[in-house]
């Protein structure tokens, strides 16, 4: 039904925004302890809680409103300096954030809202929050009590509301705002203004033309009243006449509204905001004076407004403007739509390659020229389309701040997280899948990497351990590093374990990297004591599998006593790459362009699997042999020198066919076992080309060399 879809969409926006706000809140909570001047962060925490409460109110999510309200009240006291934001309170507020998050999750699953007072966990959190509020509000009154900001008793405000035509269409119901307003005080009088509602024949049933005049008695300040309408403020004319205003102010209001003065006067009198007598007298004076007096009167009026009202309005206006500025910078798009776009761009690239091929065959110069322009444009379209899916890794990194904070407490270690390279961008699909492996690596680093405080003191390291997350781009890949400044890996113990598990042959000479790589083997664990987090090694094979599934790889480096660094290398995107086409017999292979270093003429003594590259040994692989391509090698073979993770090796091919974009199509499950091929791509001619998996080939090249070296020694 239409209703469900529409409501879902608006609710979905609420859910997404609530989660973002909770993330902001969490980030601010985690950084607040380290800041010299935490006011900005405290404000950010407060704003997040406040906005969640406000928007939950609009959706009638009373449970969230009630719970968040208490947290907000505590934060309000923190803001005033009445309560100190110590470690205990930070932990409590983090737990509250989680609880709100779970309530939001429940909304998403369209579950009934549990009353936080009735839920044991919610009640416990509320009780702890209340401790900070004593001697303030009584628990039972919490949901009702409005933010007690303004000093003094209740005052009588007059609100004049005219909703814009798009309010209903945007999924807002003026009724919700009025209901929400009623929770902040008492609506003493309300007059619905039907004047703008045309007869049925002229009515736009989905356009809003209602207005309301409200006499409102409350203890909250002007900003709080305005906040009620924060979500429609662009679409709603809101005029607030503060308590104790002179009749002239109402006159001004009357003139600023579309309805006639007498009609409005009557309404105001009905609201009890002015008496009929006062109004009559004032209107008479007004009509006698010249029209230009009116502007002067307005200005004079503004002079008489209490300074705090003006200040509050200015602050709010600034906030709204900032918020809107940030909103304008981004547009939410369905991930499905983006995927479709990327798919189409992929098809476009294949089609362009086909057109190019035909143009070359017909030798039509003009056509070829046009085609090349077209190809350039398509390439740009591809880059910008892929760019749309790029997100900064910072958000993922920031999530680990919380993990580190919690796990450090759990382990009783003092650990800090250092983050760098947050602005490094990578494909959203990659980001989503890298979260779990990274989580495992970070936990491992904390649990087993960081040494005990005593050990650290012995080694003269600072008492607080540091886990660092770093990201940067390197030749078409994104590199993510998880490092710790702990004790480093114990080479001998790993090697011993490897022998014991039969993972290495006795007597084999192994480099440090090869030894360390053993911890990624299935079932390898060197943890002396298994904690409830993880034994180092347990699950590391899963980490490697997950990363390899993303066409990435993982490497580990360690320095005894100094620390360990795990380096994860991932392709920037999973969809389209710049490829370098090479031919072997009749087959075409694609090497990712970013990995191609140079091409040289083939020269090697028969039987050897290496050549001399400007005085350096360059191991190579004969693709013809590796993939069993039939036919004799071409008279002049070439070597494509590829570089990966700082090392080089060569691929022997028959023909160099040049650069072309390759849209990666996954191989069918049948070919999952094939090593050295990461995917396939369709050529302009309609033929299929296989994409070479350089990291895997490199391993093979090194194995070959290792074996050769071994045999020679």
């Amino acid at each position: 039904m239409a209703k469900d879809i529409n409501l879902d969409q608006v609710l979905q926006t609420f859910i997404v925004e609530a989660r973002e706000l909770l993330e902001d809140m969490e980030a601010a909570l985690l950084r607040v302890a380290d800041e010299a001047d935490p006011r900005e962060s405290i404000n950010a925490i407060f704003r997040a809680a406040h906005t969640i409460k406000g928007s939950s109110g609009l959706f009638g999510l009373d449970a969230i409103v009630a719970f968040t309200h208490v947290a907000e009240s505590v934060l309000d006291r923190v803001r005033d300096g009445a309560v100190a934001l110590d470690e205990g309170l930070v932990a409590l507020l983090l737990a509250c954030g989680d609880y709100i998050g779970r309530m939001v999750d429940a909304v998403e699953r369209t579950e009934a809202q549990a009353d936080p007072h009735a839920d044991p966990e919610g009640a416990a959190l509320l009780a702890r929050l209340q401790a900070y509020l004593a001697p303030c509000a009584a628990p039972a009154e919490v949901a009702r009590a409005a933010a007690p900001t303004a000093a003094g008793g209740p005052a009588r405000w007059h609100l004049s509301l005219r909703f814009g035509p798009d309010v209903l269409r945007n999924g807002m119901d003026p009724l919700s705002f009025i209901r929400y307003l009623a929770t902040l005080g008492q609506i003493e009088h309300l007059v619905t203004i039907p004047d703008a509602v045309p007869p049925l024949e002229a009515l736009d049933p989905e356009g809003c033309c209602l207005g309301f005049e409200i006499a409102f008695v409350t203890t909250v300040d002007k900003a709080s009243i305005e906040n009620v309408f924060e979500f429609v403020i662009d679409d709603c004319a809101l005029r607030i006449v503060p308590p104790g205003s002179q009749v002239a102010r109402y006159i001004e209001l009357i003139h600023s509204l579309p309805e006639g003065p007498s009609r409005l006067g009557e309404i105001l009198v009905r609201c009890g905001s002015v008496t009929a007598h006062e109004l009559e007298a004032a209107l008479r004076v007004q009509s006698e004076s010249a029209p230009e007096r009116r502007i002067g009167a307005i200005l004079a009026e503004q002079g008489t407004v209490a300074p705090q009202v003006v200040e509050a309005a200015l602050v709010r206006q600034k906030q709204a403007k900032e918020a809107r500025g940030a909103e304008n910078q981004s547009v939410r798009v369905d991930a499905d739509k983006l995927d479709r776009l990327i798919n189409l761009v992929g098809e476009l690239i294949i089609a362009t390659a086909g057109a190019n091929l035909v143009a070359k065959r017909t030798r039509n110069l003009e056509l070829m020229e046009r085609n090349s322009t077209l190809a350039d444009l398509v390439e740009e379209v591809r880059d910008s389309a892929l760019q749309l899916r790029m997100v900064k890794i910072g958000a993922t990194f920031n999530r680990f701040k919380r993990v580190v904070h919690d796990v450090a407490r759990e382990l009783g270690k003092d650990i800090e997280l250092a983050v760098s390279g947050e602005d490094t961008e990578l494909d959203k699909t990659v980001v989503e899948k890298i979260g779990d492996p990274l989580m495992h690596l970070v936990r491992n680093a904390m649990d087993h990497g960081i040494d005990s405080p005593e050990r650290r003191a012995e080694r003269g390291k600072p008492a607080a351990g540091t886990v660092s997350l770093n990201a940067f781009h390197d030749s078409g890949s994104i590199v993510i590093q998880v490092s710790d400044d702990g004790g480093g890996l114990d080479r001998e113990r790993i090697l011993a374990k490897g022998l014991e598990r039969g993972l290495v042959e006795a007597g084999r000479v192994m480099s440090d990297a090869e030894v360390y790589a053993l911890i990624f083997e299935p079932g390898f664990s060197t943890a002396e004591q298994i904690t409830n987090l993880s034994g180092r090694g347990v699950g590391m094979d899963v980490v490697r599998r997950n990363i390899e599934a993303l066409r990435g790889n993982v490497a580990i480096a360690s320095e005894p006593g100094r620390g360990t660094t795990v380096t994860v290398r991932l392709p920037l995107t999973l969809a389209i790459i710049n490829g370098f086409q090479v031919g072997v017999g009749k087959s075409v292979f694609v090497v990712p362009m970013d990995m191609v270093d140079e091409c040289i003429e083939f020269s090697a003594q028969t039987g050897q699997d290496y050549t001399d590259l400007r005085g350096q040994v360059l191991p190579f692989i004969r693709l013809r042999e590796l993939f069993d391509v039939p036919g004799r090698p071409a008279a002049r073979q070439n070597i494509v020198v590829v570089k990966h993770a700082g090392q080089k090796f060569g691929l022997v091919v028959d023909a160099l066919m040049g650069e072309a974009q390759a849209v990666i199509k996954p191989l069918s499950r049948m070919f999952v076992q094939v090593r050295g091929i990461s995917g396939s791509s369709i050529l302009g001619s309609g033929d299929v080309a296989l994409i070479l998996d350089v990291p895997v080939l490199m391993q093979q090249a090194q194995l070959g060399r290792g074996a050769a070296a071994h045999a020679a020694s």
Partner: protein
């Protein structure tokens, strides 16, 4: 002679506003000059401002064409909305007057 009745079930909200506006227009047009249309809202489960607006527009249409619009039944949901907007008295017996 009893007046014709127009009954609305379920939602009287933005999601059905366009559909209901058309139906109400037709129902009003079918009423004889000077006659009255009874609106039965006793089965309305949900009402929002679009619904309120629809009632106000229908009342105006009726008044301008010399007909009368009366609410013959109201559900709890309708009562609550009309009470919130202080419109309770507006659709009573003497609903013909515009003001």
């Amino acid at each position: 002679m009893t007046s014709p009745t127009f009954r609305i079930d379920g939602e009287l909200t933005i999601y059905r506003a366009a559909e209901l506006a058309g139906a109400m227009k037709a129902a009003l047009a079918a009423v004889a000059d000077g006659g009255a249309l009874e609106l039965d809202l006793s089965e309305v489960a949900e009402m929002d401002c679009a619904g309120v607006q629809l009632l106000l527009a229908a009342r105006r249409s009726a008044a301008e064409s010399g007909r009368t619009l009366r609410l013959s039944g109201r559900s709890a949901a309708v009562d609550e909305v009309l009470a919130t907007l202080r419109l309770d008295g507006h659709f009573g017996d003497a609903a013909g007057a515009a003001h």
